[in-house]
Symmetry: D2
Subunit: 405 residues, 4 copies
């Protein structure tokens, strides 16, 4: 265990990663460099500096990655209408590759030979961090204390803190019974009473949104402007990617939008119950489909739909930094050239309703689609041949006596 | 045009198909047999008998197909979590193959050489009727008057009625500005102001659901019981398939659930704006995913997800009676063996929230998934090897100098 | 039929398209512009000029499109390892979009309002020509004489020739009993005795290759050099795309390589028996897979494989000029960045054997793969965790009593 | 290491697994039960009995599994036209799940708490054995000596033999420089000079087939009879599954058929060069496609093709005993109902040529497909509408100014 000289730790400033700082110093006898990122988790990151210093850390990185997160990770993912297992908007999954990338950049800057993180050995996050790290720097050593140490119960952890003078009152608030994770796209809850998938989540668990019952009695309308598949303005006002998502989270949360309660399949092989709040993402998913509905060719849209589950799986499983994800992204991005225009959504007590969409690049052709006289834009007689030839193979089979059961 | 002797017409009892009766008699000089089905459209079918008799029809078929519709068409489709283009629950699409089948059965019974329907040459329904008919009886002749006649405006149609003594006051109510279609799964609206996709649908258009704003201020909870992927009981009470859907439509509609406003891509090549109310279907889609989430293997679920868009396309395009749909159904049905258990949903002002799921066939393993001590059910150290080998190909590539861009 | 002023005809110089020139002049009373392309069919195109002139054509286009054909159509298709229905190398399919494109370019140059072609109403080629034309110039009128006229038997056609002084001895050679089509990628045979799929093709049918039995008793070795997925040199000598394919056709044909006898499914709904000679293509397909086998990431390769049938279907069905084909091409081309290196193949009496492959961009890592001591490049113990976690979902299911049948 | 009482070992009778017997006895202090199967590897299995007895084994299982192997594993796989990465016929992969199943059956019979095998930690076979074992008996312990012990070089292994009186002259023949594996479907070669993928395999490596050059100068014709997708007779003579494959291997090998030299991607993450002889399988793959070409619906065939790579991956990666493989098999088997008839193939100097196919269930319709007069079986005018509607979406896009690049 002694060959490591410098390790870059993804440091939240919380108790667990503070213990890891000390544990790494002790067990690997190495210098620990901490890295704390603001990816929109909604907590100050600057306090992490003093905490790290108190633990004897000399090199401390604190970065605001919110714009990069939304621009280079969240938005590309939403171009594909990505959802995992029909429900999950991948809020945690999409943040991990950015952390992995930054860990490796810092490791390169400071000449570290290892990185470390606070993810457990049961979850997906360890996979996402480590696959990213290995893809970006194949010789890197990864230290995952939760897979190594014996501090596996709250008691042993607390005892360790006491022995090592790690202040345990980092959070004065009562400890949440849930394991949580947050970034600009979502906040997640696992554990506690949620471990029984029949038990309804308690209303005071949710932090980012009001309950639908408590939401305003009057609907809120929003106009989203799209360029090449990304939201660039809301109600006519241009905004940066992170500002767009921050704004949508706020308005969505006020209207009770974006709560989700699911059982999902982890990459490591088990089922897990999670609750998520993704107000802005929930709005963007519906709105993006709506703008695509008038600007995308049918077969392009269907091809995207048929590949989406695979793309979602790649992100969920931690393969953002893989060649296959990039290959698929090339196709997705190519498809968005004309995905421009406006979508109007109505938010009301937990639901998002799309009520209008328009675009200078619309392929909706009123002249053809109309129930009224189309002035010859479409020849109804063409349909007969279309149907006849599409039916031919089935007619031949039936003629040969094949029976449909 | 004279070789046809008997034609079976899908007859709604409305003005358009009444005109078709007369037009077929006149233009093909043939006997017209009418077929009217109750598939849950919410209107009496018996009055169609007198109307047909008044038009000189001698053989009149009036069938209640509601149970068959839900049992053999709607439920099998929902086993696949089927949605077209990410939004549409295929309410119209799934009813057409049943009508096609019954038309052909009647044609066989009465010795008819043709069938006829009232679908226009611009839509999907002509395709669905005719592909089904050709697949089931390859030598059948199909007469689609809207593709043949010159009664293409309201005026010419009315003049024809007058000339032929067809009473035009069949519906005393003011004519709806929308083209509508209904069955137990949904009601649809097209045309009128909807032809501009930016215009919000007017609130008085919707017929099956109250607006979310008008829905009760208190949520409604439902427990759905599943057996092999189908709902067999609600709140503990066993029900037939059609009763299940009728019940869910009622409760869903009362809570403003199931409104949808989309632009979809028709098989005949154009985009079309449609509004739909699918209260029961909207509940069933979410609930079915929820029961699958604890009972289905991960890879089975992902395989189903990756094939669903193709399956939805088959149904949308009218290929229910095709060998490829049946082949895929064999796989879907095989996957549902253990999809048993209960799902609890909460309906509130237009939204469906899944709040609990349980099953004797659950694959959710609390011992493995827990954040607490798992008593050795899972060895966290296994994760290291899992990640290392999954990363190997990317590490080799990076070692060879491949750069990720 | 009189509104057409100028029509551009895809003119082979053969009897059928000569009749079409006259028929168009007569029936549409319009000017006919002929277009004859050398796409490597192996016949002189210049003689078409005199024949067209004799038919009164004033504007005559004769183009050598061989390089464009291979560079922009054949090579991009081979990057995907494209085969239709497991066997067919799409030799005819891939040439049609180029003809369609050139027809439209000429129509634009001469201000024509229509194009015409000699494909029958039963085949795929009409679809490929016309889908391309409509995609590139949506208002173009397409005249397909075989779908319109009554010259449907050899006799009526001959009588027409006599009436119109069209010389029928264009080909002095005895008329082949087969319908044939050729370009640089292949030559095809349909019809005649082939219409019975049990009858073996006669040996004197084949034109481009010797029979395997007649091929040399000594194998021929070739080294193919790849850059970004395309062959750029053979046996170390750089060549243009058309030269590469010409060379491979010659050597392949001499070794009896590339004969294929299949029953395929046409887009218009029927099964059809065809025989093909594709010497160069057969070599390139195997060699391209071989160079990819050492340079492509596993998951990229598998993703390509899973999409290939869809891509092949697009080309077969005539959707080269569609947005979905271009979207997929973006992905395919992106994947080829590192597909560089050399492949050695052995041609012998009808078979192609890959015997070696090497690349500066190889991902084959002898240190990892070796059966000998790998000096720590791979830790065999990692496999245990890898297997354990991959098995976890199945173990949980078995523990819950799920029985595998 | 002491908790194991009984272990069932997959025992070949060779040196390596003989060492494992002793090593297990020593290191786990447990009873070893050996299991040796005849799956057509071409070596006597009975001699394994004496060898095992000499090592002190009391319970010895020797089974002839050839019929089960072909009937329940090889044939179902060939129904899908399965090939991995475009080339590999999965000869090794498909045998492993049968061994895993039998190991578990024996473990259940003798009350063993563990199984063991001689596969290394670098290969796919360990994964295939163990995934199968865990799926069938989740609590089983697996001992993989190659991942545990220190006998990793030839020298240490030989020293171990000497210390433990294990006779090393089991094989009097000179040790092959290749790592080989054989069963009724194929024989494989890895290692040695093959570790350089540019080096051509030496001709004396191949054991099952003559070189194409040494094959007869006269072609051999075979008629294969199919029922529900499986070969049931050759040249009119009914045979059991194993007899079919034995026969085809013999005739194929005599004609130099079935040699393959590839670089493949292992599931554990590395590329590996392998050479294979699969004479019978190579014939069956081509012939099965041929019988499907006349009996399978187009869309069914295309759906099978699009899923085949996924199915092949499942088998290659060891997921035969997974729910997703069984789900997919349900679909594949359903598709084979009408895959009946005869295929004629010609074998000549390394190549397989399909020359004819016929079936009472043929969907090939000569009346429709003919180039001659079809007596109205097909209306060519239908093609116009077919093309027009298929082109509509592209025409609308072009009309709206979308430019194809």
């Amino acid at each position: 265990m002694s060959s490591i000289k410098k390790v870059v730790l993804a440091y939240s400033g919380g108790l667990d990663t503070s213990v890891i700082v000390k544990w790494l110093q002790e067990n690997y006898n190495c210098e620990v460099i901490t890295f704390t990122a603001d990816i929109g988790q909604g907590e100050e990151v600057e306090p992490a500096r003093a905490k790290a210093q108190a633990l004897g850390v000399k090199q401390i990185y604190i970065d605001d990655l919110r714009e990069e997160f939304v621009r280079d990770f969240v938005f590309p993912m939403f171009r594909a209408n990505t959802i995992y297992e029909g429900e999950y908007l991948l809020g945690t999954s999409i943040a991990r590759p950015l952390i992995a990338k930054r860990l490796i950049e810092i490791a390169n800057e400071v000449g570290a030979d290892a990185i470390s993180h606070g993810a457990t050995g049961k979850g997906n996050d360890q996979v996402r961090f480590e696959l990213g790290a290995y893809a970006l720097k194949p010789g890197i050593k990864v230290i995952a204390p939760w897979r190594e140490w014996d501090l596996t119960s709250r008691e042993t952890l607390m005892a360790y803190c006491e022995r090592n003078n790690i202040p345990v009152d980092f959070n004065k608030k009562k400890k949440s019974p849930y394991s949580m994770d947050a970034n600009l796209l979502h906040i997640s809850y696992e554990g506690g009473v949620l471990e029984n998938p029949w038990t309804e989540a308690e209303d005071d668990m949710w932090r980012w949104s009001v309950s639908p019952e408590a939401a305003p009695d009057k609907a809120t309308y929003l106009d989203l402007t799209y360029e090449k598949g990304d939201v660039v303005a809301i109600n006519g006002e241009r905004m940066s990617p992170a500002t767009v998502l921050t704004y949508l989270n706020k308005v969505g949360g006020e209207n009770g939008v974006g709560r989700l309660d699911i059982v999902e399949n982890r990459y490591v092989g088990m089922k897990s119950r999670g609750c998520y709040e993704t107000p802005g993402g929930t709005i963007m998913l519906r709105a993006h489909r709506a703008i695509e509905s008038i600007t995308l060719d049918r077969e392009v849209a269907h091809l995207k739909d048929s590949l989406m589950p695979k793309y979602a799986e790649m992100i969920y499983n931690g393969y953002w930094w893989s060649p296959e994800r990039k290959m698929m992204q090339a196709m997705i991005d190519q498809s968005q050239e004309y995905v421009n225009g406006e979508v109007r959504v109505k938010l009301y007590k937990g639901a998002v309703h799309v009520v209008g969409r328009r675009s200078a690049d619309s392929l909706f052709d009123e002249k053809v689609a109309t129930f009224e006289d189309d002035a010859g834009a479409y020849n109804q007689k063409d349909a007969e041949g279309f149907i006849k030839l599409n039916a031919l193979r089935m007619r031949i089979a039936a003629n040969k006596g094949r029976v449909l059961k």
